[in-house]
Amino acid sequence: MFKKKECVAMLLAGGQGSRLTVLTTKTAKPAVTFGGKYRIIDFPLSNCANSGIDTVGVLTQYQPLVLNEYIGTGLPWDLDRNYGGVKILPPYQGKKGADWYKGTANAIYQNLQFIERYDPDDVLILSGDHIYRMNYAAMLDFHKASNAACTIAVIDVPIKEASRFGILTTDDAGKIIRFTEKPKNPDSTKASMGIYIFNREALSKYLIADAENPKSANDFGKNIIPAMLAAGEHMMAYTFEGYWKDVGTIESLWEANMDLLGEEPALQLGDKSWKILSRHENAPPQIIGPQGVVENASITEGCAIYGTVRNSVLGENVRVMEGAVVEDSVIMGECVIGEGAVVQYAIIDREVEVRAAARVGKPRAEAKGIAVIGEGTVVEAGAVVADGAILPE
């Protein structure tokens, strides 16, 4: 029994995220831990759940094990539904052969069948690399009201940073006139957030045409959007205001984590009107020991702090032993920071053990860069990991 869905979301989660170095060796970027108890993909999934979009296809390709396991039936996001819900869509073998997803547009093209099952009017395309809270329902209303073939979410960026983004030039009414990928001399500050709502017929039409073009890179930004603009389709920019951060690099991932700290954090996850949902570990409450010192930190379940934690974000079941110091760092979960060990200006992935008296990184003021330690690594007792080093190499 099939019912029509107003809008189906397609979440592109197949990217490798190679700029995150060792953090994505075993894990796809969307499954990288963020803010202690979340994964990056929790943000678009929670936004869908909170916006009333109950059908989400998640396109996976690179290292999908952790991601698949994490999404499971979709229950944590209330997306375990009898009809719709969250569905993992890996590349598959068809009658005419098998293919990897060659680009973002190709991934959607290969799953047009999935979209058609729900007979939606519109299709929302999302990516799994950003931290933000956004009401997609408001964007959908805007899209419907303007009767556009495609609406692209944009955010105002400082003009000097505009050349890092895909920049949209619009008229006063918000109609898109021009799209330039990473322009040298930007004429607008409206950066594309990589969030698109397409009218379903228009999407099918352009994806099919794109697939037939052997020279195409099969990418939304490079091919589909320019093709639609060239054909004179009615395309609108939807301006989003609020916190939005790409966490595609080590530095930006660190910064976004630090945005959770301070008196008035830039990113407040405690807001109950727009909860970020996640799959939970079942861990006891955190314990701060008799000698524990915790200042300006975000700490979650199962942590045991017997040492000192400052300006840091800790994931579940992290143990900071007596005399250990953690400063200006992100520790993702299930880690042990041994007695007397010092961790400064670092990102430490899951299940890492920093043994007694080891040193990772340098004080932030003196460090050349962020030290990064990949999943499951052991830093031996007394060892020194230089500032800006990446382990394992």
Binding site: P76, E263, I276, P284, P285, G292, V313
Partner: protein, 377 residues
């Protein structure tokens, strides 16, 4: 040995009226993020039990709310899973003549239907006033080896850590663990072995004694079944020697909670290998410690915002500690809000309590100051 579970959610409600006026014993919050029933449920689930009946009596809305469909304990099952057993009363035909049950035996009579539909050979019966992490599969294996009708699980209590009252039952047994007698606690000090009120019963035996009890109008499980058949039926005890606490008053609730601040007790209760304690997921954000916060020796759940000082205390989910506020030796339940420059010592706040700026409240370990749900001070 296959077993099903039965949990009595209300049986000791009267002992902590403060916390049970609006909830069952089973749904009393404990240890930062748990409810008392979580321990009974987790013990069962960790030993492979997949069918659990929860006997309710009154005030069980908060319990239903907590349990939901049982998914958080992996008890949302097509076969078995968690079954709430509300009071069974019909106008014309019932065992206890139109009244709600008042004893354990009457409660069991009311759920005969559930018991008759079980195919498991054993039933594990558990109360909700005990906090422990028992490996029931070992106890079940012993129950099977002894070919027992009833196996009582005993726990050792150090009277220096926890006071016992006359409700505690002290069993005596021979070298084989065969039960000889059960006495009421009579003031012994040091380490005393008492009945935990977790017991294993052979299902067919339970069905037989319940049928008999109905015909003879019996009312007490211990008096009419255990004592009456001592020496004749096969009753055994098996010992549990991990963390054990029994909550029987607001003072003991305070004491049991504070024992969690002791490292060994906490590890013994929460970190037993392959025996996690499960509870309902609430999706709180991680706890934020602001610049200027100072926290020592405290157990803190997620979703808290801490700007002040917290020492030797337990904070449940979503608690706010204001600037300049000092909280010592206190238990603040879910969503308690304390303003700035508040001072609390030996205070228990129930859910959703608001304490405004500059208030000072102080109880004592032997008489903690309790503030009921939703109050504003």
């Amino acid at each position: 040995m296959r077993a099903a579970g039965l949990i009595f959610s209300n049986i000791h409600d009267a002992s902590i009226p403060e916390l049970t006026t609006r909830r069952t014993m089973a749904s009393i919050p404990f240890g930062g993020r748990y409810r008392l029933i979580d321990f009974a449920l987790s013990n069962m689930v960790n030993s492979g039990i997949t069918k659990v009946g929860v006997i309710t009596h009154y005030n069980y809305q908060s319990l239903l709310d907590h349990i939901g469909n049982g998914k958080d304990w992996d008890l949302a099952r097509r076969n078995g899973g968690i079954k709430i057993l509300p009071p069974f009363i019909t106008a014309y035909d019932n065992a206890v003549a139109g009244k709600l049950y008042s004893t354990r035996l009457e409660a069991l009579m009311g759920v005969m239907n559930f018991i008759d539909h079980c195919t498991e050979e054993a039933l594990v019966l558990s109360d909700c006033d005990v906090i422990c992490n028992v490996d029931l599969s070992r106890a079940l294996a012993e129950h099977e080896r002894n070919d027992a009708d009833i196996t009582l699980i005993t726990a050792t209590v150090d009277t220096a850590e926890q006071e016992l009252d006359a409700k505690a039952q002290v069993p005596t047994f021979d070298e084989q663990g065969r039960l000889i007698d059960i006495d009421v606690y009579s003031g012994q000090t040091g380490r005393v072995e008492i009945c935990s009120d977790i017991l294993i019963v052979r299902r067919t035996y339970l069905q037989r004694v319940l049928a008999e009890a109905i015909t003879h109008g019996r009312t007490s499980f211990y008096r009419d079944i255990v004592y009456r058949n001592l020496g004749r039926d096969r009753f055994f005890v098996t010992r549990y020697d991990g963390f054990f606490a029994r909550v029987n008053s607001i003072e003991s609730y305070f004491g049991c909670s504070m024992r969690l601040l002791d490292h060994d007790s906490r590890v013994n209760l929460f970190y037993r290998r392959n025996q996690p304690i499960y509870t309902k997921v609430r999706n709180s954000a991680p706890t934020r410690y602001l610049p200027g916060a100072s926290v020592k020796n405290s157990l803190i759940a997620d979703g808290c915002v801490i700007e002040g000082t917290v020492e030797n205390s337990i904070l449940f989910r979503g608690v706010h500690v204001g600037k300049g506020t000092v909280i010592k030796n206190s238990i603040l339940m879910q969503d308690t809000y304390t303003g700035d420059h508040v001072r609390l010592g030996c205070v228990i706040t129930d859910k959703d309590v608001v304490i405004k700026n500059d208030r000072e409240l102080c109880g004592h370990e032997t008489l903690p100051f309790y503030i009921s749900k939703g109050q504003t001070v």
